[in-house]
């Protein structure tokens, strides 16, 4: 026998105020759940869109971040002329040695300071990272104490507008341009000339070396040659792989998200139960009638659970819609991996939205289970007699 669902639907509209409140309550729970998880996903993926499959990133063995890695000038010279490295039209090897340092800079809102990654790199380094494009101003001129900042960082720090000057390591630096990094890890950086930054920060060695391999096979050869050469305490990784391993741990955020979702959903389940009990209570007579008409207990049970699940699903969709405007919203925090400010975006993936809706349906089913059982167990005669 078909489910008496049309009866459920008509009833929902009768107690619309309580139903609406329940649906909105569930929507809020789902919105919070989706947003916090979207934050975690964004943070974990903040470095994932970085890297060119042809590039090999070389850092010191055992280092976990570029800023704590050292590649000496001598090591760089050794690497420089390896035959596996691609060459440009003029016959120069496509290699760049970078220096990554962290500088403390005041935030734009005046609330304290944060560490900013400054990457010193060569013209070849820019050529190796084509996803980074200049969006305003011009590139830095080596030796003139000039830097170019990512547009995202320019929005977060006090002295990062074009024309601004800031002091670090006893020198005044001028911002001459803004770049965009297409959601890569470079969006959290400030760029300047490599050798100038070595002089400025008084460093003898570089942090990392990026090379373009001549072929996929040559890439493998570079990696294994570095691994087996005991004189070079260095490690090579495909650039794409290196950055995908650089996922900032979003564990604390995930724990927070799960905790919030659990505690809020418990509250929401109680509220949903309340609404459903009231709804069953006011429909006692009708349920009796349905039973007399021949609908079975389990049919009635199922119809109430479906009612609860559907209402919750509506709440879930609404919650996702509430969260959606924040998709792509850029924010920042300190990554414990790089120990510097990392900008990232809320990312509401389709899978995350689905999880949110599933979560809502579970809340709906759990919340309507007991009231539905009560509805299905109402004695027919008593139900018909009730006013």
């Amino acid at each position: 026998m078909a489910l008496p669902l049309s009866h459920n639907f008509r009833n929902v509209t009768v107690r619309w105020r309580a139903t609406l409140a329940t649906v909105l309550g569930i929507a809020m729970v789902v919105a919070v759940f989706v947003l916090v998880q979207a934050l975690a996903v964004g943070l974990e993926k903040s470095a994932s869109n970085t890297g060119d499959p042809r590039n090999i990133m070389i850092v010191r063995k055992g280092s976990t971040a570029e800023s704590s890695s050292q590649v000496s000038l001598q090591q760089f010279q050794t690497l420089h002329y390896w035959s596996q490295i691609a060459r440009d039209k003029k016959g120069n090897p496509i290699v760049s040695a970078d220096l990554v340092t962290l500088i403390s800079q005041p935030r734009i809102d005046g609330k304290g300071e944060a560490n900013v990654s400054v990457r010193g790199l060569t013209p070849m380094g820019r050529f190796l990272r084509p996803q980074v494009t200049l969006v305003a101003g011009r590139w830095f001129t080596p030796g003139k104490r000039e830097v170019v900042v990512s547009s995202r960082m320019a929005k977060r720090f006090a002295h990062f507008k074009i024309g601004d000057r800031f002091k670090t390591a006893g020198n005044w630096m001028t911002v001459v341009g803004e770049f965009a990094g297409q959601n890569s890890a470079f969006d959290s950086e400030v760029w300047m000339d490599a050798d100038e930054s070595r002089a400025l920060f008084d460093r003898e060695s570089y942090s990392s070396v990026l090379v373009r391999a001549a072929s996929p096979q040559a890439a493998q050869e570079i990696i294994s040659r570095l691994d087996s050469d005991k004189r070079l305490p260095l490690r090579g990784d495909s650039e794409v792989e290196y950055y995908s391993k650089q996922t900032a741990t979003a564990m604390p955020i995930r724990i927070l998200g799960n905790f919030l979702a659990t505690a809020m959903s418990i509250g929401a389940i109680f509220a949903a139960m309340n609404t459903m009990y009231a709804s069953v209570g006011s429909r006692t007579r009708e349920i009796g009638t349905l039973r007399v008409l021949g609908f079975r207990r389990r049919t009635i049970l199922l119809s109430f659970i479906i009612e609860g699940a559907l209402l919750a699903a509506i709440g879930g969709v609404l919650g996702c819609l509430l969260a959606l405007p924040l998709h792509g919203y850029s924010t920042g925090t300190m990554s414990f991996n790089t120990f510097s400010e990392t900008v990232f975006q809320f990312r509401i993936t389709p899978w995350l939205a689905t999880k949110g809706i599933i979560f809502a349906v579970v809340v709906g089913v759990v919340g309507s289970l007991l009231p539905a059982i009560r509805a299905s167990r109402l004695p027919v005669i008593a139900a018909l007699k009730s006013v």
Binding site: S68, T101, S104, K111, A271, T333, M334
Partner: protein, 381 residues
């Protein structure tokens, strides 16, 4: 029947609903307390004893830039300074664990009794730490986690320096707000894989709290326009600087709290109006008997207020018990350490509950006030 008995009977007439309403308020208030405690811990780290006499000195460029070891002599000569120690981040990984699970710093062994005198340890530990170059001291939490005892040896692979170092446990300390760090000797680091001539940062102990500003200013001035300019600040300012690096976390938790409160109001208000609507007939009878709107409002308010307060007592009480008597450090894998539920947080949460009780009573009271006795009597629900 007295009026209060009447209100109580009404509130508990539908026991299941009363229970569900109270539980939903309790769950929300539990959450509200938790969020506020988390926010407080994130933005106001626990203060260790002796903090008012300690000064942190880091490279002005940023914390990650090293400082030359020769600065020590200059700092020691500044009047008012009672003790100085280097403090160098080692970033070691324990055995095969993926990441770092506790922090390690290289210090001057004498500093344990002077600069960091809040860390308490037995006398044998001090002696061993001062005598053996490869020795280290470990916080109680970390020692318990890995089952380390004095005399044990273990090695750590550094993520900052090339290679790994083997350490001998000299003693286990406790008494700091977060007994997790490992401290070892700067000279051991310098002689092995370290960068001799450089340290991570300096920690100072000053003789009197009154002398703090003068010492801080003197340290900053001493290295002005040198190749390694420094930023000296009080321990508190240093901690807050660390927190400011976390960025938008504060705004995030604050906005989450707002959403929780809003959801709370929404759900409870709806439950309350449900309870009242069910009773329209009775309220109409009361009206017919001559009770005034004001009195009906008082009935509804008392009931809604009572439910909210009951929920608050359970929710805030549960949070208080859990965070005061439970081991929060274990529960959160060391992200939070003290998680103190302060009277201020309890007060704020109780106020939210009280407001909730009042706000929830408004909508049903308005509809009761508006209804005519005849219509009320006709209600079937």
């Amino acid at each position: 029947m007295t009026i209060s008995a009447f209100i109580l009977k009404n509130a508990l007439r539908n026991k299941r609903r009363a229970l569900l309403s109270v539980s939903s308020v309790a769950a929300s208030l539990f959450l509200l307390v938790t969020l506020q405690v988390a926010l407080r811990e994130l933005t106001q780290p626990p203060e260790s004893s002796g903090a008012e006499l300690r000064v942190a000195v880091r490279n002005k460029i940023s914390l990650t830039n090293p400082l030359p070891a020769r600065q020590r002599g200059v700092i020691e000569r500044i009047p008012g300074v009672a003790g100085v120690t280097p403090f160098t981040w080692f970033g070691g990984k324990y055995k095969n664990e993926g990441g770092m699970t506790f922090a390690q710093f290289a210090i001057d062994p004498k500093a344990l009794g002077t600069v960091f005198n809040d860390a308490k340890m037995d006398a044998a530990g001090y002696i061993a730490f001062n005598q053996q170059k490869d020795s280290c001291v470990i916080g109680k939490i970390t020692a318990e986690k890995y089952g380390l005892k004095p005399g044990d040896r273990f090695s750590l692979e550094s993520t900052v320096y090339p290679g790994s170092l083997t350490f001998r446990v000299a003693g286990i300390y406790s008494g700091t707000p977060d007994d997790r760090n490992m401290l070892f000797r700067q000279d051991y680091l310098d002689d092995s894989i370290g960068m001799p001539g450089y340290v991570g940062m300096w920690w100072l102990k000053v003789k009197s709290a009154a002398g703090m500003p003068r010492v801080i200013a003197a340290v900053n001035k001493a290295f002005e326009n040198t190749s390694a300019e420094v930023r000296a600040e009080s321990e508190r300012a240093f901690q807050l600087g660390f927190i400011s690096m976390l960025g938008n976390i504060k705004a995030l938790v604050a906005s989450l709290s707002t959403v929780v409160v809003f959801t709370l109001v929404l759900v409870s208000a709806s439950t309350m109006s449900m309870a009242i609507r069910e009773r329209f007939r009775e309220l109409a009878i009361l009206k017919a008997l001559g009770f005034r709107r004001r009195e009906l409002f008082a009935f509804i308010l008392a009931e809604s207020f009572g439910l909210a307060v009951a929920g608050a007592v359970i929710g805030i009480g549960a949070a208080y018990c859990l965070y005061t008597f439970g081991d929060i450090s274990k529960m959160t894998h060391g992200i939070f350490v003290t998680f103190e539920v302060t009277p201020r947080i309890i007060g704020f949460s109780a106020m939210v509950a009280a407001l909730l009780g009042i706000v929830s009573a408004i909508a049903p009271s308005l509809s009761v006030a508006r209804m005519s006795v005849v219509n009320g009597l006709k209600t079937l629900d």
